[in-house]
Symmetry: C2
Subunit: 600 residues, 2 copies
């Protein structure tokens, strides 16, 4: 038996088997509901409102997130509610993993392309009774004769099309040869071999279409990581993947499908074919890397967090299901450890900090924040579980950096003024806004050094036993507040990061003042106000000119590795050079963590 489920206002509807929760129905219909806990009923984010139809009765757990009034109005947690009839359901914007401001660009480093593939225009003599050479041999002979290229092998995927291809093109093609050995694609004479560089983040994916030979970026796209529908953090996704091979397959194909779609869009935009893409570089954190390759993750999700593999890998496009040239290659940069992945390597590659003199701190802030301290050529890295607070999760009125998110906050004449993304009416607080609020409240004395909120400001109040600061008064919409609990969440998040920095300094026998430069990478890092971050002691108190916000450095590193073999070699050298520090087992960890909770 099936029910017709209608999600509004997104307008997705369809038949779903009876017995599925609304969250499962939403997944099935491609409606991406926020669900940090992966559907366990513990994060309270997948709130929907039933407009028509009957659902299973509310569970006791839902009362923690929904008031009796809300329940009476049909609000439910989608993961706890099972349709008992056809249903029409409203999805509030906050419950949608909406399109979001994605950070695609970063500081470009211009390099001389040194690509692993080269293309050659070859003209073949057609076969005849006197010249019966097979098509593959004919092609390899022409490459040798016309270009001095001693390629020895034609990829199976190319062989599968070689005969009609040569005949349809009247025996003139552009042969793409990899590493001087393998023919990986046959293109039309006028086509150029293209490459795809991809940074797959936990939340966002940045993709770049490049000309492999000129090194030029032809198009760029930022999209959401569609795995989000199965958990906002990697632990939830690894748990989901571990439960069932089909679920692991689903997490993989979601990303691959998205990459195929994005590559096709970019190809259309610049008037080329996706099959002109002969090489791809993908970077991501270790969990994402494993999920994309369908590598085992059960052991990666559990202490001591051991990856299946950390070496750089060259795979065939068909092994991943990528719809580029079928004989094309996918290169994955090396990982360093379970929580320090190829995206960290890529960031180090792009920023060039590993070659810096003096002392440089490089930070990629996210749900997991990776930090590398470069100390006169010595590289030490660690990961700190800063949690999803910077993405707006676990914050009462937190949200992603989408339209209507409060992104900047300042006290003006004693009142907190704000600015939203897109200038639209405020919906909630995104990461940079949250950081600003705490910094402003702390500097105004409304939150003290220990994080306790004071009630001596007209916008501060206590509701149901919890202190909160009212940013936007309620009216037709609910009020937007910043609560005592939010302060504590942020203290944990920034504390984890600050602890990581502190441990790295101690391991290197340095103090914060020794740092010559702080490089901040990633979308969140791009938008934060560094002064605010310093104000709450999330970043060390250094002159502002020592900070450099570099945007999506991991994506830039993927681009460099795509078009340059020497950059790939450099990435491997970096991964081998990094000393990984397991934060939890570092000496003084507990002391450093306890201290880092303070706002100064």
């Amino acid at each position: 038996m099936t029910y017709h489920i209608d999600f509004q206002p997104v307008g997705r509807r369809g038949e779903c088997p009876a017995g599925l929760s609304l969250l499962e129905c939403a997944r099935r219909l491609g409606v991406d509901l926020v669900n940090i806990c992966g559907g366990a009923g513990t994060c309270g984010r997948c709130i929907v409102q039933v407009l028509e139809g009957t659902l299973s009765p509310p569970t006791p757990g839902e009362g923690k997130f929904l008031s009796p009034e809300a329940l009476a109005e049909g609000y439910r947690l989608a993961c706890r509610a099972t349709p008992l009839s056809h249903c029409k359901v409203r999805v509030p914007p906050e419950s949608l993993t909406t399109p979001q401001r994605t950070q695609v660009e970063g500081e470009e480093t211009s390099i001389e392309p040194d690509p692993p593939v080269r293309s050659y225009l070859v003209t073949l003599a057609p076969p005849s009774i006197e010249d019966l050479r097979p098509d593959a041999e004919r092609l390899l002979d022409a490459l040798a004769e016309q270009h001095g290229v001693a390629a020895t092998q034609v990829e199976l995927a190319v062989l599968r099309d070689i005969s009609p291809c040569l005949r349809d093109s009247h025996w003139q093609v552009r042969a793409v040869v990899r590493e001087g050995r393998n023919v990986v694609a046959l293109l039309p004479p006028e086509a150029r071999p293209l490459g795809l560089a991809v940074d797959v983040g936990t939340t966002k994916v940045a993709a770049y279409l490049m000309d492999m030979e000129s090194g030029r970026t032809l198009a760029a796209r930022g999209i959401m990581n569609p795995q989000i529908a199965y958990g906002e953090d990697v632990v939830a996704r690894m748990t989901y993947a571990s439960q069932d091979p089909d679920q692991a397959r689903r997490l993989q194909s979601l990303v691959i499908d998205a990459l195929n779609h994005t590559a096709a869009e970019m190809a259309t935009e610049v008037g080329v074919q996706p099959s002109d893409i002969v090489e791809t570089v993908i970077v991501g954190n270790t969990a994402i890397h494993h999920l994309i390759l369908k590598l085992p993750v059960t052991q990666l999700a559990r202490a001591p967090y051991v990856p299946a593999v950390d070496a750089a890998l060259d795979l065939k496009a068909c092994e991943l299901g990528l719809h580029i040239a079928p004989g094309g290659t996918v290169h994955l940069l090396p990982n360093i450890a379970g929580y320090v992945g190829a995206d960290h390597v890529s960031m180090l590659l792009a920023t060039g900090v590993t070659q810096a003199e003096g002392v440089v701190l490089a930070i990629d802030i996210g749900t997991n924040t990776e930090v590398c301290l470069v100390n006169h050529g010595r590289l030490t890295s660690l990961s700190c579980a800063s949690g999803p607070a910077f993405e707006g999760a676990h914050i009462k009125h937190g949200m992603r950096a989408a339209s209507g998110a409060i992104e900047r906050v300042r006290f003006v004449d004693g009142r907190l003024e704000y600015q939203t993304i897109g200038g639209t009416p405020p919906v909630g607080l995104c990461g940079s806004g949250i950081l600003d609020v705490l910094a402003q409240l702390y500097q105004a004395g409304i939150v003290n050094r220990g994080g306790r909120m004071q009630l001596d400001h007209p916008q501060a109040r206590e509701t149901d036993g919890e202190r909160e600061f009212v940013l936007v008064e309620g009216g037709r919409r609910p009020a937007i507040t910043f609560t005592q609990k939010d302060v504590r969440e942020l203290q944990l998040a920034k504390g984890a990061m600050r602890t990581g920095i502190q441990v790295l300094l101690e391991v290197n026998g340095l103090v914060a003042e020794d740092i010559d430069q702080v490089v901040i990478a990633g979308a969140f890092g791009t938008y934060i106000d560094v002064a605010s971050a310093i104000a709450i002691d999330m970043l060390p108190r250094l002159p502002l000119e020592r900070f450099r916000q570099v945007g999506n450095a991991a994506g830039m590193g993927a681009k460099l590795a795509l078009i340059s073999r020497s950059k790939r070699a450099e990435a491997q050298a970096i991964a081998a050079r990094v000393d990984y520090v397991e934060l939890a087992s570092a000496p003084n960890f507990m002391k450093a963590f306890a201290q880092s909770m303070y706002l100064e």
Copy 2:
């Protein structure tokens, strides 16, 4: 709308969409009907009898193959008849591509195994907070430390299972390493790495399960090539594959499915797992090779018959869909030309004739007959289209070498006596029987040197204007006769082969008497009476002791190549040494062909 179609006596029934021909219904239900023309209505072999239900009315073309009486009794060509209701259909044995005597064994050559894979028992230390090496690195380190094996890579398919595998096996596994470099499988400690050698013939498939390290054959199986349902010769199949990529895919998956099934059966027989199979060698003629790899065949089916590729190939099992160890390898021996394939190379490898002193003729007789003349170390090969007459096709009462086939014929006291396979009542004539009949009739003067049948024997007669010799009188079953037209078919078939031999001799400046040895390979070659073949001048008139019937030499060659890297290298050297002669463009071809038609 669907109809229920019931095929008897095979007992296969099921629903088929309205509009399909009975042949298509049979394919859909897995009933393999003979259809040499691929369903074009021109070979007249897919005769069935409708017992219940209504069919589309007979087409004019069917009258060529079915008498009005037969049509009145419900006999139809399955490819021309479309069910208009539920139907019950009888399939005569002649119309079934029945299980058949398959030639699996051949002369064994015992060699020292020199396999490309070696296995090593390794014991790993589990990870800990002090030892966070990834699973792959941990394994490679252990191989180096415990066995001095400097493997550098773990196949993606192995990585996809490495973490649960190591943990479930309590950190002790048998690692299979290929060419000292790649880890291609992790087996239980007590398992042995196995290999699969396969000779895929146009009609039959021979498969062998071997221990890669000891070189022992553990099991062997002979099955029919399931592609037969889509055309009995390779030209029909290439045409079918060229029409539609789905059809090409079907021809491939039919063989792969059959190999998977056979491998699983053999594994069960000897108490091992199919996933213990880490290496496979497949040989076949060039068309079969291309169809199995899903390489393009349109150009191969048309003059000048150019293959897509002839080089030896190493593929991954997953690229072909073989259900062996997922990281396992499939090696394909090299082809020589469009109609001289890897099975010819394999035959030359197994028989050792390429190293023979003097002059040796090596022949693999089939629908296409490949012949190699070894002349003091010089190798010259060609292919002659001997046609399917030796398989019983195009012969009025011909059939495959199945139960009830007349396989031996001798004049005893002026009457032709026969012997059938299995000693069962006669159903038709298989290849060796056909050869015997012609030889006996020629030697008795009933067929003259030009092939004309005389009517001065009591068993000879003329029916409907055609002369025929009655082997088995009709009664409840129809008579079994050998017709004037059959003589002509056989003259063409043996003439093609004899021409090939003649051209090779002329190219080498030799005459038949120079031949020191004739090696005859293949199933048909195993069962023929050499004296009969000499009697009709199909084989040169040489002393019988110079002939050697070696059975399935192609299969034996596949086994050698499976367990020995030096044999693979030798196969490549043989393929490179062979001078290919295009028969039709040889000087004197027409004259030789005209002369070879004579029976002496």
